[in-house]
């Protein structure tokens, strides 16, 4: 009797999960229509292919489990915001890990060489560190505009702000990045003369 009940329960669970699966076909459609832009953005934020794949997977898993499998009203906005947050969390974790692993002296020695300063990889990493430090509203705009290549109108729709506000936020973000990158450069120069 008990065994029969268990098997019925399992059958019911299977049927429910199948029907939910059938109704979640929109996830595949979202992947088809926004996947390319999303992968490009994640690659540019993270600069590592495996990390980009992981962030992509996390994004769509969160989408699949959004309010018990319900379809969000604005899928594109949801996907881009989640992907952005996931990527920045990964980036921060990576930066923290790097700081912990490499001692300060080694890192500084590495940076102070003039050849390295011109190195594009060093520039990219510095920029990524600075972007990860930005406040959320500025960071969202800079990643969507400069790394995902979206227009201000699209960014406004995704973040729920006007295109003009997005423009102002980007300007502020660039100012902050300028100051922070300048500071890093100054620190390096200071170390060089010490």
């Amino acid at each position: 009797m008990f065994g029969k009940a268990v098997s019925y329960g399992l059958l019911w669970d299977f049927a429910v999960s199948e029907s939910v699966g059938e109704s979640q076909r929109w996830i595949l459609s979202a992947m088809q229509s926004h996947g390319q832009e999303l992968v490009t953005m994640l690659w540019r934020i993270l600069g590592n292919e495996q990390d980009a794949c992981d962030a992509y997977q996390d994004t769509f898993l969160q989408l699949a489990h959004y309010e018990g499998g319900r379809k969000p009203e604005h899928i594109k906005a949801y996907i881009f915001r989640v992907a952005n947050n996931v990527a920045i969390s990964m980036l921060r974790r990576r930066i923290a890990e790097k700081k912990r692993v490499s001692t300060a002296v080694v890192a500084r020695k590495d940076v102070s060489s003039p050849a390295k300063e011109l190195d594009s990889k060093y520039l990219q990493e510095t920029l990524r560190c600075c972007i990860a430090r930005l406040p959320e509203h500025l960071r969202n705009v800079i990643t969507l505009r400069d790394l995902a290549g979206l227009s201000y109108a699209q960014i406004g729709r995704i973040l729920g702000i006007s295109a003009a506000t997005a423009r102002v936020y980007r300007c502020k973000a660039i100012q902050l990045l300028t100051v922070w990158m300048g500071k890093e450069e100054k620190d390096n120069e200071k170390y060089k003369y010490e």
Partner: protein, 180 residues
């Protein structure tokens, strides 16, 4: 209608203002350039802005492997529900490669499209020109013939013959035959 006109006027004024402000106070203005040449602080600041822009361009210009989208899709579909994994669309996504956008794809035809549009515009203008000159010839011809009639049969009769369009002369009967 009035609001549309006001909106377009506002837009035009905004564009003019932007142009005026950027030409006088933009980074390309002469007095700004002169100041930058003599001010090390501003030079450094501009240098840093350039550095940020350079870093952004480098990040954007780094290519990823062609199969990144395919791999990301495969990895993601692998953790989705069984029914989604079996869907025909999933199979397609697993082998999906990045495609250029529609604008980029048709971008190479931009020049040809512009040339075609210019040719059509020229043809249209030519057609308008030909028709307007034909109209002019017709009016002039009518004038000449009227003048001839005026000199030959008198102004009153010429007026009746060349009355507007198909208006029948007052001296004609119901069949259109002139009576004495």
């Amino acid at each position: 209608m009035k609001s549309i006109n006001t909106n377009s006027k506002c837009r035009r004024i905004r564009a003019w203002l932007y142009e005026a402000v950027s030409s006088r106070f933009g980074a390309d203005a002469d007095w700004v350039k002169k100041h930058i040449v003599n001010c090390p602080r501003c030079r450094r600041r501009l240098d840093l802005v350039g550095k940020v822009n350079l870093a952004l361009s480098i990040v954007k210009s780094q290519p990823h492997k062609l199969d990144l989208l395919m791999r990301a899709n495969t990895q993601t579909i692998g953790v989705l529900k069984h029914s989604l994994r079996r869907a025909p669309k999933a199979r397609k996504l697993r082998t999906m490669l990045p495609e250029p956008k529609l604008l980029e794809r048709w971008g190479k035809y931009r020049c040809s499209a512009a040339n075609l549009a210019a040719c059509i515009a020229i043809l249209f203008l030519m057609k308008i020109g030909v028709f307007s000159s034909m109209n002019e010839f017709q009016t002039r011809g009518q004038k000449v013939i009227r003048q001839y009639y005026t000199s030959q049969v008198g102004e009153d009769l010429a007026d009746e013959v060349f009355a507007k369009d198909t208006q029948r002369p007052s001296s004609a009967n119901s069949r259109g035959v002139f009576t004495a």
